[in-house]
Amino acid sequence: MELCDHTAAHLCTLLKNGKISSKEITESVFQRIDKREKVINAYISVFREKALLQAKAADKKFSKKEQPSLLNGIPIALKDNVCTRDLTTTCGSNILKNYLPPYDATAVKKAYQHGMIGIGKTNMDEFGMGSSTENSIVGPTRNPVNTEYVAGGSSGGSAAAVASGETVLALGTDTGGSVRQPAAFCGIVGIKPTYGRVSRYGLISYASSLDQIGVLGRTVEDCTMLLQTICGPDRNDSTSADIQDNDFLSSLNNNIKGLKIGLPNEYFNTGLDKKIKDNILKAVQLLEKNGADIIDISLPHADYAISAYYLIATAEASSNLARYDGVRFGLRAKNCYDDIKEMYENTRYLGFSTEVKRRIMLGTYVLSAGHYQAYYLKAQKIRTLIKQDFEQAFKKVDIIISPVTPTLPFKLGEKASNPLEMYLMDLYTVSLNMAGLPGMSVPCGTIDGLPAGFQIIGKPFDEKTVLQTGHLYQQLTGA
């Protein structure tokens, strides 16, 4: 086991006691990148020199006997749809291949202010549109557990980097499951916080009413430390929540005696891999043995979530992606146009992949005259029902436990030919984005050598209970 394989919590203790330096951790991460990146392909770009400079500065803070921040000196990978000043931010797209942001996203800025070491920008499905990280300008990311399999998506690069030791922590983004699903596929922890918990300033938009920045790490404790570091209100993002209480760590070790855990019937009955179900129920039993009450609940509109989600997400995407027009930034098609309109059309033809075009087309269709009411407005009404389902459930229970994915990881190329089949991977995750709820994917063993995970869902802004439950489970199972 090298330094890059340890938990952030353990590395923090070693750093604080002067046993190791941030430089050594950072070098260990880059050694691992040199060794495995050719196969894993977790990164779109890495910034070695900048990272080593940051490590030097972090080490200085320790030697000065200042009180450095919690995660001072710990490496972090950044998904390539969060802006990094003067460092290319591509969104996995040809249309932003050379884009150099003029500023850092707030989440990135906070990580740097706390002394974290930026390792590089991680691979993703173009604009977050995918569930396998196969749809990117730099090709697919492979699952470090078994490289014949996908890492999940769209934050597959972030998940694979954490799982392979190519970073210690990572930022991801989650519009319909894009942090939680790759975390489950790669056997690590991933959190999508409540909508509004983390500033989205500097996050390149996919579907603004659903997008949220999240965190990935090896343990619940590691993710808690990172979440605490990057969350909070931001004057540059008016949709960030005006909530100052962001201390999740001090209550992390609280017990769960009397905690009411809901199991939604609809999530365990149809389409779920039997072995995944067994593993999740074992985890639930363990929590029950340690003081939790298990209660059956119902989310009656669960079956409609995927349909409503894809209509809303694509509609918002078709509007958000209208900005890529070859005028102010990004690609411009060369010398094959007579006027500005042709330039727009040719630029977007060359710049977007088929999947992105497909979603822009679907989104435009459902917003167009004659279809708006039947599809877009209908989907928004279903969204109300889905949110109400959770509100009803949370009158009876404190948290909900569910699957993250209906199946184990699939092989590269396996679902490439059928877009609808890929969309169905998000069955258990999209509802949280529709209702704005926090959710965390926690590993629960392996099946046929592949990782399985379960999802803990909380009330809005009750990350604390979600984290406590996940942390206790990991303590009990020795993760």
């Binding site: 005028v327 102010r328 088929t354 087309m361 435009t364 209908k378 029902l385």
Partner: protein, 98 residues
Amino acid sequence: MKEKISKKQIEYIAKLTGLRIDNKEIDSFSKELKSILEYVSTLHELDTESIEPLSGLKTHKNAWRDDTPGTEENTGTILRNAPEKEKHYFKVPKIKED
């Protein structure tokens, strides 16, 4: 509700989106959008007559700030991303009336 999407409709939608799509894509998009719309048509099973649409989550108080003027010296860093520019301006091809 059975959905049919003609090639003509696909071309019309492509025009609305400002996308050029080739013949092969017209064919595949018309099939794929049709199958996706068929899948989502289960939504029509639900009577939502009296349900309010949800367009944004109102779970929290937004972090508003005062609207005070400030200055940012970043014209250069913004313009360096321009595919074509002249002095302090973005440069575009000619604009024709339809």
